[in-house]
């Protein structure tokens, strides 16, 4: 079988170390064939890696190059071409920095003094295999996203026709219907809506997971959002026979958030509160905490068992008193809320006492925190 050709870029300024690597790769028979290019500056390495035609398979990187310092060189090389794995070669004494390099995007590290001869080729081959596996995973995730978006479109179209046919009959547009017919069609309508919600939720989860949900962050008034949500939900509160109460703190500062997404969170929390509250009230309260604004939705419902608390924000978990699913939810609502709030650098949690009701709270930061650099995926 023909040996695989592996193209290596070696960034190293020490002549002895350069020769050492050369000797290991070419001095004795190896399981793969190597092509080696050596540079002695990080700027030259970045230039080589940015040149897509060069098609390196892997970079071996010394952290002591004269035109950069330590970890920064890993970041620069990684940034130049994130698709190419990096193996860091350190001096004998700096183990810590090797681990730090891995946190900053290196695939592995080796100490030049310790068994380099034995480990170098194996480490290179391992790094390449791992990169291959990572690429496959990434591809699979992309395929899944694409698949879900197509499926969602294909599901929505027939649902639209179903929903509209039922609605037309229910609205009496196709002639008068009796109460029994109406109650049957009401069930159909409710379940069509449920299916539509499920599709939306699955898409939302997928978008959040892939980091593809866009957030339109604008300085806005949380009280206005609460009032608006309250207004739109007034009729379902009435239907349910539950009082929907607003307690707003008029002195709240405006903060940056995505109005549509926070509306979605609040609507979800209130819908949940309705589901588990047979009678009494659901109270929406806004207030200020330390560097945060806080919104809470409390109900006088059945409460949540302490042992179920950790499951609350997990996907596809649904709580019901009797252990059976009966609320008609998707089991995704709270998981979506959590992701949305976390994207806002806020926090969401629940407090509850059996028989007395539950309270769901979320906070949004008042000051913009320092920009946290997210590792490129």
């Amino acid at each position: 079988m023909e040996k695989e050709l592996i193209k290596i870029l070696h960034a190293e300024d020490d002549e002895i170390d350069r020769r050492l690597v050369k000797r290991i790769l070419f001095g004795s028979p190896q399981p793969a064939e190597f092509a080696l290019e050596q540079v002695n500056r990080i700027s030259a390495a970045v230039e080589c890696l940015s040149d897509k035609e060069k098609e390196y398979d892997i970079t071996l990187l010394d952290l002591g190059l004269p035109d950069t310092t330590g970890i920064e060189s890993v970041q620069m090389v990684n940034h130049a071409n994130p698709d190419i794995p990096i193996v860091v070669l350190t001096g004998t004494t700096d183990k810590e920095i090797g681990l730090e390099a891995i946190k900053n995007g290196a695939m592995d590290y080796l100490s030049k003094g310790i068994a380099l001869e034995e480990l170098l080729v194996r480490t290179i081959l391992y790094a390449l295999e791992r990169k291959k596996a990572e690429r496959k995973i990434k591809e699979a995730v992309e395929t899944k996203s694409e698949f879900l978006s197509i499926v969602s479109h294909e599901l929505r179209t027939p649902l639209t026709a179903m929903k509209e046919s039922v609605a037309i009959v229910l609205d009496g547009m196709a002639g008068e219907i009796n109460d029994e017919q109406k109650s049957c069609l009401d069930i159909a309508r409710r379940n069509i809506d449920r299916l539509a919600r499920l599709i939306n939720d699955v898409l939302d989860v997928q978008k959040l997971e892939a980091g593809k949900m866009k957030f339109d962050m604008k300085v806005s008034d949380i009280n206005e959002v609460a009032e608006h949500v309250c207004k739109t939900m007034a009729s379902s509160a009435k239907e349910k026979g539950v009082d929907l109460v607003l307690e707003l703190d008029g002195k709240l500062p405006k903060v940056k958030f995505d109005v549509d997404r926070i509306t979605q969170v609040l609507t979800n929390l209130i819908n949940n509160a309705f589901k588990f509250t047979e009678k009494g009230s659901v109270i929406i309260k806004t207030g200020k905490g330390e560097n945060v604004i806080q919104v809470s939705v409390s109900d006088s419902g059945c409460g949540i068992n302490q042992e179920n608390m950790p499951r609350l924000f997990k996907k596809f978990e649904q709580l019901a008193e009797s252990g059976e699913r009966k609320t008609g939810g998707t089991g995704l609502g709270l998981a979506i809320c959590k992701e949305i709030i976390e994207e806002h650098k806020g926090d969401i949690w629940a407090e509850s006492e059996m028989g007395k009701g539950s309270i769901f709270k979320f906070v949004l930061p008042i000051k913009e925190k320092e920009i946290i650099w997210r590792k490129e995926s």
């Binding site: 978006s149 929903k163 509209e164 547009m173």
Partner: protein, 122 residues
């Protein structure tokens, strides 16, 4: 006089039902199954409103919208994008191509009524 609405959608069931509802609400309806026929009707009939699906055979909805909104004679005709695709930012697409509003399928009949009414004043 009843306002005239053009519905462009390649899904016959969806089209038929929207047509049925809007007729009952007192609108005059004309329909097209693809973008090319849609454009032709927009040019010849100058409807008071177009309900335009995005994924259409021949010329897709975005292209229809773009052509209408870039045409001096036609750009006053209001367009509501009418789509089952929720994974793209429909709001953004609508804004970019000058559509007047959008509605995601499956839609709430009240939403449809509200949007159609406010645009046609009928």
């Amino acid at each position: 006089m009843a306002k005239r609405i053009l519905i462009v959608d390649d899904e016959p069931d969806v089209l038929k039902l929207a047509e049925f509802r809007l007729r009952k609400w007192g609108y005059e309806i004309i329909t097209a199954f693809d973008g090319q026929k849609g454009l032709e009707l927009i040019r010849n009939e100058k409807p008071d409103l177009v309900l335009l699906d995005l994924r259409l055979p021949n010329t897709d909805g975005i292209e229809v919208c773009r052509q209408v909104k870039n045409d001096k004679e036609l750009k006053h005709i209001p367009i509501i994008l009418f789509t089952a695709t929720a994974d793209i930012a429909v709001a953004e697409v609508a804004k970019e191509y000058g559509a007047d509003d959008y509605l995601v399928k499956p839609y709430e009949p009240e939403q449809l009524l509200k949007k159609v009414r406010s645009i046609t004043n009928q």
